[in-house]
Every structure is written in C-alpha cells, then in structure tokens.
C-alpha cells in the first residue's frame, strides 16, 4: 500500500448525517470482481438523475468549484450500513484521500485504513466550521499533515486531530497487515495444535 504522509486538496461537502454505504456505492455496482473502477459510481443515485448520466445539479458535490476535490467532509455516523469495501474503493477511485466527519461506522472506518484513506474525526463544531469555510471560499483547500496530526487551511485555521497511534503508523509506513500477522506464524500454529488436541 502507498504511504500516506501529507496531503493537500480541495474540499467537497456532503451535508448529511448517516451517509450509508448503499448511498456511497449502490448495490448494482458491487458485481465487479476488481478493486478498481468504482469511482464513476460514487454517490451514484445522488450524483446523477434517474437516467444515470445527467449530473444532478441539486447535489452539492457536482458544482464545478468542487472539481478535483480530494478531501470529503460529511456528518455523523458516516459509512454506516453494509460492510462493502467497495465504498472506500469508490471514494478512493474518485480521487478522495481524506474523509472528515464527527463519527464513523466501525467497519467503514476500518476499511479506509486498509486502502490508504485517512478518515479524520473532529468535533461537531469543528466539522460545522469546515462546512462554513468550504461554502465561503471557492476552491477551499485543506492541508493534512499526518506526521504531526495537524489540519490547516489557507485562512489561518489549524486543528490538531487525534488518531490511534497504530493506525497512524500503518498509513505513514504503508504497511501490509497480512505480512505483519504472518510474522506470528509460530503462535498461530501452536494455537491450532492446542485446539486440535482439545478436540481429540
């Protein structure tokens, strides 16, 4: 996996609570057997009108000012519902590297790290402030520094964010966690031998 150290990018808003993974990537697109190519279907039913091709102008993220955005801000309980990893795949493939919300559903949160996406948790007030600044300044950008766990904008804002140290290292070093687990192969084998003996 690629390392995540620093990132700067345009911010795009999805102003809803409880954004579920069905909304992030609807089921009809879960049939692919690859990990790539899901970005075109991100927020499909919100982004496009019923014909599936005409952009829905009512969907904030479709505005030209958010073209090329790579930081997504949203509200509480982001990524709830289905465990589909297609959701972070779609977010990533569309071009987002960072998601910011007050809270996340567990499985989605975990899936992000496996794909080199940084999900940042901020307070409701801080997220509200980001929504306002995003609306206020066209081309609003955030600069994320994972080494120092700091978020900055170009208008004097600086926010320190919190992140579990192991997860931070995981992204900073772009680790392969299957490889990490397999370093304990002897212990896994010993456990299996013990279990087999119990059943015998």
């Amino acid at each position: 996996m690629d390392k995540f150290i620093k990132h700067s990018g345009i911010v795009a808003p999805v102003d809803r609570v409880n954004v579920d993974t069905d909304a992030i990537i609807p089921k009809q697109f879960l049939k692919r057997i690859e990990r790539t190519g899901f970005g075109q279907f991100l927020f499909y039913e919100w982004r496009f009108l019923e014909d599936g091709v005409t952009p829905n102008e009512g969907f904030e993220m479709n505005k030209e000012r958010y073209n090329g955005a790579s930081v997504l801000i949203s509200r509480a309980n982001f990524g709830c519902g289905s465990s589909r990893e297609h959701a972070p795949w779609a977010i990533m493939d569309y071009g987002f590297k960072v998601v910011i919300a007050p809270s996340y559903a567990d499985i989605f949160y975990n899936n992000c790290f496996k794909n080199g996406i940084l999900p940042i948790k901020l307070s409701e007030e801080q997220v509200e402030e980001l929504f306002q600044r995003t609306a206020q300044h066209e081309g609003y950008q955030l600069h994320v520094d994972l080494e120092n766990k700091v978020l900055r904008d170009d208008h004097g804002m600086e926010i320190q964010f919190d992140l579990d140290e192991h997860r931070r290292q995981f992204l900073l070093q772009g680790l392969d966690d299957i490889g990490l687990t397999l370093q304990h192969e002897d212990k896994i084998s010993a456990y299996e031998a013990k279990q087999a003996a119990k059943l015998a």
Partner: protein, 471 residues
C-alpha cells in the same frame, strides 16, 4: 476476575497482543459469499498465498441469485460473480453450497442450520449482518474484503478490543409484538450509532423468552445500532437447537459443558448499559430512511420540528421528502404496493409460519405485489412440508427460491421508483431496494397484514381466520 461472555471468548482467541497495537485474534469460522470475496481471492493469487484453513471456511452464493428461474442468471456481471466464487472455491479447496444444494441460502441462515454456528466461536464474514450468529453466544462480526483476504491467508484478524454494552430488555412482550419490534424499538429509542465501538450482550427476561430464531433477528440488526457485534448467552434453547445438526460437535454433552462456562460471570462489568421495556412495546413501522426512524404503528408520521438538533431536523426533512410522507399521517393510513417477506433478519421458518398464520384465508390486496423468499433451501423445503407455500400462493403471494433477494436488490427483485414496500428486511436506506423505492421495515406478521389490507394495520387486532398454523 469476573468476566463478561465477550471477554471470555475474546481471551480464548488471542494469538498475540502488544501494548498499543491491535490484538491478533484467531477465527474459528469464516463464511464467504460471492460479493465481498472475489478481490480477496485475487489478492491471495497475486501474493502466492493459500487459504490457511479451508476446513474452517464455508461459502455460498446468496446476494446475486435470482429467486425464480434461478439457474438462469441473465445479468452477465452477476453471473460472472457467481461463477467466480465457484472457481475460487475449487481452486482454493473451499466447501461451497451452490445452487444445486438444498443448504444454499442466505449465508446467515445457512450457518446456524448446518450447526456451523456455535457458542464460543469467533465467526466472521464479509457481510455486516454476521452479527446474526451472536444469537448463539458466538462473537460474530462483519468485515471488509481486505480482512476477508487476511482471514483466508492467516485464519486470524487484527482487532482492537471493542468495549462492552449490556442491552437489558425487561418485561414480557404482548401477543402480536415480535422480536423485530424489540430491535426496531431499541434502535428508534437509542439511535443508529448508540453502540458504535461496542459489542452488545442482550440480557433480560424478554430475551430469555425468545426462540433461537427470534434471537437471531435481534442480533442480526445489532449493526443497525452501530454495534460491532451482538450476542446472547447460550441456554437450553441454544443447545437443543444445535443438537444433531450436521456440524454439531461429536461429543455433544462435553461441548455443552464447555458452552455453559461462557456465561457472563456474576459481578462482571460492562462498559455501558441501557435498558428497554418490552412490556409496553407495540408493533413498529419505520417511516424514514434510517432504521432508527421508526414509530409505533399506533402513532403518526413525525414532523421535522419534533427533532431537537438541526442535523436531525434536516435528516427528517430529507427522509420525509424521499419517502413521500406528510407529517401527521397515521401510520395505519400509509398505503403500500409491494411486500417482501424474507432476508437474514426474517427469512426463517418461524417467520414464515407467523406470516402464513396472518395470511391464511385472506387474499392479497389488489394493489399489492407480494413475494415470500425463504432464507435457505432448507427453510423452503420445511415450509412446503408444512403447506405454508400453499397458503401464500392461494392468497396471491409469489413463492420464491432462497436468496437475499429484495433486501438489497442485487438480483432481479427490485422496487420501481415510487414503489412503497412493507419489508421484513433490515435497512430502509434510500435506494436500498431499488432507486426511488420506499421501504418500511416491519415484522413478518405486520408485512403479511399489510399485504392483505394494502396499508399498515396493527397486527395485534388481526382477525385470524383459522387456528394459527402449527409446526
């Protein structure tokens, strides 16, 4: 030290732990389906890895499969996904219950039926409703595809230890009030994220009173409360349910003795506790686009002004708009044109019996298209043995083959825009059952009654035409 059931199971499965890092946890049972596994198997191939324990890995196809003319998968991408699972299972030596076997079905219906699901096990599947298996006193949770690959390769997972929560359901529910109403009631009361970061243990008289299948309904929707997993302590009902099943332990009495040791010790502490009263509970109907947006069937559709925060008011407004509902409308005045009875929440034999008891002697309303989708081939067979299929078909329901079907509508069972559906499934998200489709989550009894009347009714007042169908 006194331990909760969760802590005992967790501790029994620790391979390795280090301060500040997630624990490496051994996984006893890995269930696999066609949607969240292809990229995981591909990952193994690319890395030259094998499935470490094919004997602990079991697969079925459920999400994509058509529920009529099932061998003829018309969507070529669906077919490719199903065929890919078949090939992956062959290549990696994984046992597959495919469409040719009677055991094929929704993965969370199949596991318990085969006796694979057992107390004390760690169980994972690339599916959020894996929480279902917690009904047996197992630690069962959904994982993403990267983790599916991790388990295939190592039979382990890296997991940070979740916190524990006791959800105590006291009292006795009244006739006509189902397990589904309990869990919908809990989620409506406490919200869709109240258990995020926690493993729930459900306790209390109302839980002990439930059958195994009802317990599965409760644990199934733990994820809709945000929980990592939901569990219920095993008891005689659990041991009776599993006795004699294909994968039940050989030395059953010894296993039962071990399972009895799993119960939460007296004096053990949970990190959080909430209480819910089953006594006053009435049947529930969701009105919005989140499982927490539910109300009593005797109530009315709420107004955004009823909510205390700006975000909740906005969410309610959006939900009402999507659902095409006006605040103040009586729940029982909401008319529906589709009914779906099935899913890993409510697609088991007892669910079908309860729905059939309501339907018997009635005819489906002329505006309604209603389907019954058994959770597995075995459920279907049993229902047919009891004549339930005839009751449904005579009333005007379609009787289908097993699969996930319209719970998530990956197969041809999809709502059309504007359709309004009484559904026994678990999620009422926008577009979940089809773009523009409107989903109301209810119990099987409530869905059956709505199919007959064409609108929601309080099933506690139902006039059963004949004696309830018995097993």
């Amino acid at each position: 030290m006194a331990k909760t059931m969760f802590e005992k199971i967790w501790d029994n499965h620790i391979i390795h732990q280090e301060e500040g890092k997630p624990s490496i946890l051994y996984i006893d049972l890995h269930l696999v389906h066609e949607v969240t596994s292809p990229q995981a198997f591909e990952g193994l191939r690319l890395a030259g890895r094998k499935v470490r324990r094919p004997d602990l890995t079991f697969a079925t196809m459920d999400h994509n499969v058509p529920t009529k003319d099932r061998f003829n998968i018309k969507d070529p991408i669906s077919k490719q996904q199903v065929d890919t699972l078949t090939k992956n299972c062959q290549d990696f030596g994984v046992k597959l219950y495919d469409l040719n076997t009677v055991d094929q079905g929704v993965v969370h219906v199949m596991g318990p039926e085969l006796g694979l699901t057992q107390p004390g096990k760690t169980i994972v599947c690339g599916d959020s409703h894996t929480s279902t298996h917690g009904a047996f006193g197992a630690l069962a949770f959904g994982i993403g595809t990267s983790e599916v690959e991790h388990v295939l390769a190592t039979q382990c997972l890296q997991q940070a230890k979740p916190k524990t929560m006791e959800v105590h359901i006291k009292g006795k529910r009244k006739p006509g009030v189902s397990a589904k109403d309990i869990i919908l009631g809990v989620i409506s009361k406490f919200g869709t994220a109240f258990a995020t970061g926690y493993v729930i243990e459900y306790t209390g008289e109302a839980i002990r009173d439930l059958t195994m299948e009802e317990r599965m309904t409760i644990c199934n929707m733990s994820i809709e409360a945000g929980a990592r997993a939901g569990m219920i302590a095993p008891d005689e009902k659990t041991f009776e349910y599993l006795r004699g099943r294909e994968y039940a332990p050989q030395d059953y009495d010894r296993a039962v003795e071990e399972w009895k040791k799993l119960l939460t010790d007296e004096g053990a502490e949970y990190d959080a506790r909430v209480e819910f009263d089953a006594d006053e509970l009435v049947p529930q109907v969701t009105w919005g686009t989140s499982p927490g947006m539910g109300r009593d069937v005797t109530d009315v559709v709420p107004s955004p002004a009823d909510f205390s925060t700006e975000n909740d008011r906005k969410a309610a407004e959006k939900a009402l708009e999507y659902m095409g509902l006006t605040p103040g409308t009586k729940m029982t005045d909401i008319t529906i044109n589709r009914v779906f009875i099935g899913s890993c929440t409510n697609g088991r034999i007892e669910d079908l019996r309860k729905a059939a008891a309501v339907v018997k002697g009635y005819t489906v309303h002329s505006n309604v298209e209603a389907i019954v989708v058994p959770g597995s081939g075995r459920v279907k067979l049993q229902a047919e043995k009891e004549g339930l299929d005839k009751i449904f078909v005579e009333a005007g329901f379609e009787w289908r083959d097993a699969g996930c079907s319209m719970c998530l509508a990956m197969n041809p069972d999809v709502l059309n825009p504007g359709d309004r559906c009484a559904s026994t499934s678990n999620r009422n998200f926008e577009g979940r059952q089809g773009r523009g489709g409107r989903t109301h989550l209810v119990s099987p009894e409530m869905a059956a009654a709505a199919a007959i009347k064409g609108h929601f009714v309080d099933v506690r007042d139902w006039e059963f035409k004949e004696e309830a169908v018995t097993a």
